[in-house]
Amino acid sequence: MIEVKDLRKGFNDKTVLNGVSAVMKAGQCNLIIGSSGSGKTVFMKCLVGLFKPDEGDIAYSGQSFTQMNTEQQKEIRKEIGMLFQGSALFSSMTVEDNVIFPLDMFTDWNRKKKMDRVNEVLNRVNLEGANKKFPAEISGGMMKRVGIARAIVLNPKYLFVDEPNSGLDPQTSGLIDKLIMEITKEFNITTVINTHDMNSVMEIGDNIVYMYQGDKEWEGNNKEIIFSKNQRLNDFIFASEFLKDAKDMRQLEETGKISNERNMADLTHDDAPELVPNQESK
């Protein structure tokens, strides 16, 4: 579990994080969402120690990360895995060398034990047989999976994922989300995901933090988000007409105004005249 208390961070005169508090729970996918410039990337970089907060505290399983010296932080970092937006694979190394790197650096295991572990995690992310390929030879989705394999090879307690779906098609995005969720539950990892992707929010959002202009505006889960009365959150989530319609439909379904089958008769009910686009053409 990661506890964040009153986190503040600014650059020059600009305040980016304005006292954010949140709890990232173990065994759950904790999503940080918000529009561009809301401070979610800075928030994540503060959590992993790439930025030093101006004020506030970050505690990993009760240990204050911000109070630690560099050596103590290094020890915590060995328990952290991170998947970057662009995967951040070492381009001069093969898939296998990328995944084995943390083992080479931080363990004194023999070669066979390391290779067994590498093959185990590559199998876990469905990348059997890709060992000898270079990052330039594999697709974006495969690169993300190699990134996940590298992030989990040391059995981390905490997994940070920055924009896991950027640049991926919806199908591959779904697979990556599913993989992250499975790994989180399987190994009881505290996973923190920074995303814009609304599919991810709905699919894997066990705990969602919505940030707005450096503040935590809303917190809840993927069941609650759809019924939130927070206007800023609704403006962000239902920015597209399609999702707006989907929300209206779901609310009507919940209140019994339309049936689960969502047939045309229901949709043309008096209470929901605006729901079906291009109704006339049908």
């Binding site: 970057f84 937006q85 080479d104 650096m105 940070f160």
Partner: protein, 247 residues
Amino acid sequence: MIEKILSPVGKYFMMLKGMFSMPENTKMYWKEFMHQCSEIGIGSLGIVAIISFFIGAVSAIQTAYQLTSPLIPLSTISQIVRDTVILEFAPTLVSIVLAGVVGSKIAGELGNMRVSEQIDALEIMGVNTKAYLVLPKILASIVVIPMLIVLAMILGIYGGRVAGSMSGILSNDVFDKGLREGFLPYNVFFSLIKAYTFAFILSSIPAFFGYHVEGGALEIGRASTKAVVVSCITILFADYILSALLL
């Protein structure tokens, strides 16, 4: 204005200070050091050999062209070639060429790693990136570049000898006789001091510019250019200071 100049200088020294920490895994650091020795040394061998050979050859011909008096013995040509190659051409000119070849490579490599978040990835793993990425490059340069400069001295003098005999200016025997006349071993020592100093400059300055790149591909290019320009100017400045102090 002063802050604009002093701030990068401060950051540069902070980077150097940050390189010294207990290695996470000595084997991995050694592997990286050997890799850099090969990249910098073997990678620059060809260009250093070609440049130094032709510099020696040209200096022999141009010296002969200027020494027209029959009172000056021909062996003086080889003495001038020897001393100019050892004192200036091999250490300074080769270092300036290497600032372009090795410096831009270091800045580009680190810049690309920074922009593609590979450095962040290493930091999050708990690796001291200054120690793992920058220190082996600087140490490898300090080990390998003086070797290249010694090689450049030998090839430069040999180039002068070949050019002298091929153009009929002076025979090999006369050239060899001149090489032995008035030879000061201190010149080689001075040249090696310059070689070590320049090796440090041409690896640490590009490493600084590459490590601190912010932005994208365009900024990597800018950082490489800046790294080469600043390295060359610093090498020339250091050349002057060392000459004034030690000669």
